[in-house]
C-alpha cells in the first residue's frame, strides 16, 4: 500500500469538503442540528393531559375526589359528562386522552372500606398519553384513599400520621434526578456522530455518477488505498464533531460528563472508523447518490435509531433482532457514550465494546475492498 496514493485521495477529498460551502456546513453542523432537534422533540415532559369524568355517583365525596385528581398540573379536567355517548364523542375527536368513570357506589364502597370502584377508558391509539393518565390517576387515587383512611382511623381514636402501606425508597444512581434528557442525550450523541457514514457513502456514489471513478480505475491506485483515502477525511470531520457535540450537550443541556474526555475521544475515533466503513460498504454497492442515500437510511440510520438500544432496550427485542444489533456500531457506541457521560466508567469495563467496534470496522472495510472492483461492469 502506498501512503502517497492514500494521502492524494485524502487531500483531494478534504479540498472538496472545504471548498464546497454546502458540503462543509452539512458535514460540520448536521450532527449538532440533529441533536438539538431530537433532544427537544423527544424529551417533552407530559403535562395537562386532558381527561373527562363521568361521575355516576354525584356525591360530595366523588366531587372531592375529582377535584383532588385534577388539582395538579399533570391532568386537566376537560369535561364532566353524563353519558357514555358523550365519552365516545370526546375520545373519537381526540379532545381527551382518557376518561375516568366513577361507579354509583363510589361513596358507599369507600366508607365501607370495600375499595375504590373506578374505571378508566384510554385512547389506545395514543398509549403514551393514556398510560400517563392512568399512572397519574392511580397515584392521586392512592393518595386520596390513604388520606380518607387516615382521617377515619383518627376519628376512631387511633393515633396515626399518615397511612403508607409500602415505604419504597427509590434512588436513581448515575442520573439522580431521573431526567429523561440525561439518559437520552448520550444515546442521541452516539447516533448523530455516525452521520459522516452518509457523507462517505455519497462521495463514492458521486464519483461513480460524475465519471471520476472511471478515471481513478484507470490509474494504478489500489482498492484499499482508494477506500482508506476516502475514509480518513470523514473520520477527521467526525472527530471535530466528537469535540463539538459533547461541549454542546454539557453547556446547553447540562448533561453531566463523569468520565475521561481523552478516553471518549479515542473510543469515538474507533467508532467513526467502524461506522464510516459501513458507509463505504454502502457506497461500494450503490450506483447512484440517490440509491446510496436510500440504502444508508435503510441499513445505517433507521437500525441505528431503533435497534441500538437508545430508545428501546435491546434485551426486550426478539433474538434475531438482538443478533442484528450486535453488527451495528451504534449499539456498542451507545453503551460507551452513556457509560462515559453518566456512569463515568473507564476502559476496564468498556474494552469489549471497543474491541467489537474495531472488529466491525476492519470487517466492513475488508468486505468493501473485496467487493469493490476496479471494473465498470
Amino acid at each position: 500500500m502506498s501512503i502517497r496514493h492514500v494521502l492524494a485521495i485524502t487531500r483531494k477529498e478534504i479540498y472538496h469538503i472545504l471548498r464546497d460551502k454546502m458540503t462543509l456546513i452539512l458535514v460540520l453542523f448536521t450532527p449538532l442540528f440533529l441533536l438539538l432537534l431530537m433532544a427537544y422533540a423527544l424529551t417533552v415532559d407530559l403535562k395537562d393531559i386532558p381527561i373527562a369524568v363521568l361521575d355516576y355517583d354525584r356525591s360530595q365525596t366523588s366531587r372531592a375526589f375529582v377535584h383532588q385528581i385534577t388539582a395538579g398540573q399533570d391532568l386537566e379536567l376537560y369535561a364532566q359528562v353524563d353519558s357514555m355517548n358523550e365519552v365516545e364523542g370526546l375520545l373519537m375527536r381526540g379532545e381527551v386522552k382518557a376518561v375516568l368513570i366513577i361507579d354509583p357506589a363510589f361513596e358507599r364502597d369507600l366508607y365501607a372500606l370495600r375499595g375504590l370502584p373506578l374505571q378508566i377508558i384510554i385512547d389506545g391509539t395514543e398509549p403514551e398519553s393514556g398510560g400517563f393518565a392512568v399512572d397519574h390517576i392511580g397515584w392521586r387515587a392512592e393518595e386520596y384513599i390513604n388520606q380518607v383512611l387516615t382521617d377515619q382511623m383518627q376519628s376512631l381514636g387511633i393515633q396515626i400520621d399518615n397511612l403508607q402501606p409500602i415505604d419504597l425508597r427509590v434512588r436513581a444512581w448515575y442520573n439522580p434526578s431521573l431526567k429523561p434528557r440525561n439518559d437520552l442525550i448520550p444515546g442521541l450523541i452516539s447516533m448523530v456522530l455516525g452521520f459522516p457514514a452518509l457523507s462517505v457513502a455519497l462521495t463514492l456514489a458521486h464519483e461513480r455518477e460524475h465519471g471520476t471513478l472511471e478515471q481513478l480505475m484507470a490509474t494504478p491506485v489500489t482498492r484499499t488505498e482508494l477506500l482508506l483515502g476516502k475514509m480518513i477525511p470523514y473520520i477527521i470531520v467526525g472527530l471535530i464533531n466528537v469535540i463539538l457535540i459533547p461541549v454542546a450537550a454539557i453547556l446547553w443541556f447540562q448533561i453531566p460528563f463523569n468520565g475521561s474526555f481523552p478516553l471518549f475521544f479515542g473510543l469515538s475515533a474507533i467508532f467513526l472508523f467502524a461506522v464510516i466503513s459501513m458507509g463505504v460498504l454502502v457506497g461500494v454497492f450503490m450506483p447512484t447518490q440517490a440509491s446510496a442515500l436510500a440504502l444508508s437510511f435503510l441499513v445505517i440510520f433507521f437500525p441505528g435509531f431503533f435497534l441500538t438500544g437508545i430508545f428501546f432496550p435491546i434485551a426486550s427485542m426478539p433474538e434475531m433482532i438482538r443478533m442484528e444489533s450486535l453488527f451495528l456500531p451504534g449499539t456498542h457506541y451507545a453503551i460507551i457514550t452513556r457509560g462515559v457521560f453518566l456512569t463515568g466508567i473507564g476502559i476496564d469495563i468498556l474494552w469489549p465494546y471497543t474491541v467489537m467496534l474495531f472488529v466491525l470496522g476492519v470487517s466492513f472495510t475488508a468486505v468493501a475492498a473485496l467487493f469493490f472492483r476496479k471494473k465498470l461492469a
Binding site: S2, H5, K12, Y15, G211, A218, P220, K374, A377
Partner: protein
C-alpha cells in the same frame, strides 16, 4: 476481415505491436458490444477509431484500459496480458474517458498533482513536468484556476495534460474533442500531433472525419467489428464511384429526383448543395444535368469533387447496412 493495407503496414515496421487483440469480445446483458475484434497497433501509431454511435468504440477503449472484463478472446497491451495483468498495464497508459471529469474543486495544478501522486511521478521531476505540460496545453496562466471555472476546451486540455503527467507509452482517448469549439479542437489535435511525433502511441476514437484524416491509421468499427483498417488516403480510395457536387434552385426537389436516377449510389445534402455519389462521373454527370433541366429545375453548379473521409465513411457504412 483481413485487408491487404493493414498487412502492408505491419510489414513496414517489423517490431511487435504495442496493442494487439485477438478475437476480443465483450458482451453486455443482451448485446455484443465488441465482436471478435482483431486489432494490431504498432508503437508510435496515431490510430483513429471511427464508427457510428453504438459501434463499440467506447467499449473497445475501456477494454484496452482494463476497465471492463473480457467476455472472450485475448489482448496484449504494452506487453502485458489484458485479462490477467490489467494492473500492470495501468501505469503504461493514459486513459481519457469520453466524459472525462476533472475534480471541479481542485485547481489546474492540483488536478495535475493529484494524478502525479497516483501515478508515482518522481517528486524531483514533478514541477518540471508540470511546467512543460502547462505550457504545452496553454494553461500556464490559468494554473491556479479551479477546474470548473475553465472553458470546455481548456478542461479537455487539462484532462489530456492529466493523462500525460506520467509520460505514458500509450494514450487511449475516447472522443476527446466532442463538444469542443473548432478552434480548441484544432489546438487539441496540434498537441496530439506533437505527441505522435514524439513517439507516443495514440488510440483515439472520434466522430469527426476531419480528425480521422489527421491519423496515421484509421480503423472503422461497425457493430463491434473492425470493418476496415487503413491509412486515411487508402480509405478515401475505397469509395466506389465518383463524387459530384451539384447545386440547384430547389435542393429538396432535386434530392428526390436525383436519388431516383440510375447509377446514383448516394445523395447527401450539404447546405443547399448536394453531394451525389455515382458509379461513373463521366457517364452520369450529363444524365443528371439533363434530368434536372427536364424537371423544370435550374442547375446552378455541377462539378466533380474529390471524395472525402466523410463520404468514404458513409458509403462504407451503407455498404454494411445493405
Amino acid at each position: 476481415m483481413a485487408y491487404p493495407d493493414s498487412e502492408e503496414v505491419s510489414t513496414d515496421i517489423p517490431s511487435q505491436p504495442i496493442i494487439e487483440t485477438h478475437e476480443l469480445t465483450r458482451d453486455y446483458k443482451k448485446t455484443r458490444a465488441v465482436d471478435a475484434l482483431d486489432l494490431s497497433i504498432q508503437s508510435g501509431e496515431l490510430f483513429g477509431l471511427v464508427g457510428p454511435d453504438g459501434a463499440g468504440k467506447t467499449t473497445t477503449l475501456r477494454l484496452l484500459a482494463g476497465l471492463l472484463n473480457i467476455t472472450s478472446g485475448s489482448a496484449q497491451v504494452a506487453g502485458y496480458d489484458l485479462a490477467s495483468q490489467a494492473e500492470a498495464i495501468k501505469p503504461k497508459i493514459g486513459y481519457m474517458a469520453q466524459e472525462f471529469s476533472l475534480y471541479n474543486e481542485l485547481t489546474v495544478v492540483e488536478n495535475l498533482g493529484f494524478f502525479a501522486d497516483l501515478y508515482d511521478v518522481p517528486r524531483s521531476e514533478l514541477s518540471q513536468r508540470m511546467d512543460r505540460l502547462l505550457a504545452f496545453a496553454g494553461l500556464t496562466e490559468f494554473q491556479n484556476r479551479r477546474a470548473d471555472k475553465l472553458s470546455g476546451g481548456m478542461q479537455k486540455k487539462l484532462a489530456l495534460a492529466s493523462t500525460l503527467i506520467h509520460e505514458p507509452d500509450i494514450l487511449l482517448l475516447d472522443e476527446p474533442t466532442t463538444g469542443v469549439d473548432p478552434v480548441s479542437r484544432r489546438e487539441f489535435w496540434n498537441i496530439l500531433t506533437d505527441l505522435h511525433l514524439d513517439g507516443t502511441t495514440i488510440l483515439v476514437s472520434t466522430p469527426y472525419m476531419d480528425e480521422a484524416d489527421r491519423c496515421s491509421l484509421v480503423g472503422l468499427l461497425y457493430a463491434g467489428k473492425l470493418v476496415t483498417c487503413a491509412e486515411p488516403k487508402q480509405i478515401r480510395a475505397q469509395v466506389e464511384g465518383d463524387l459530384l457536387e451539384i447545386k440547384t434552385d430547389d435542393w429538396q426537389a432535386a434530392h428526390s429526383l436525383i436519388e431516383s436516377l440510375p447509377g446514383v449510389l448516394e445523395v447527401q445534402t450539404y447546405g443547399e448543395s448536394l453531394h451525389v455519389l455515382v458509379d461513373s462521373a463521366d457517364e452520369r454527370m450529363p444524365e443528371i444535368q439533363i434530368a434536372i433541366e427536364e424537371n423544370g429545375l435550374t442547375c446552378r453548379h455541377a462539378r466533380q469533387a474529390p471524395a472525402r473521409m466523410e463520404e468514404a465513411f458513409i458509403s462504407l457504412i451503407h455498404r454494411m447496412e445493405v
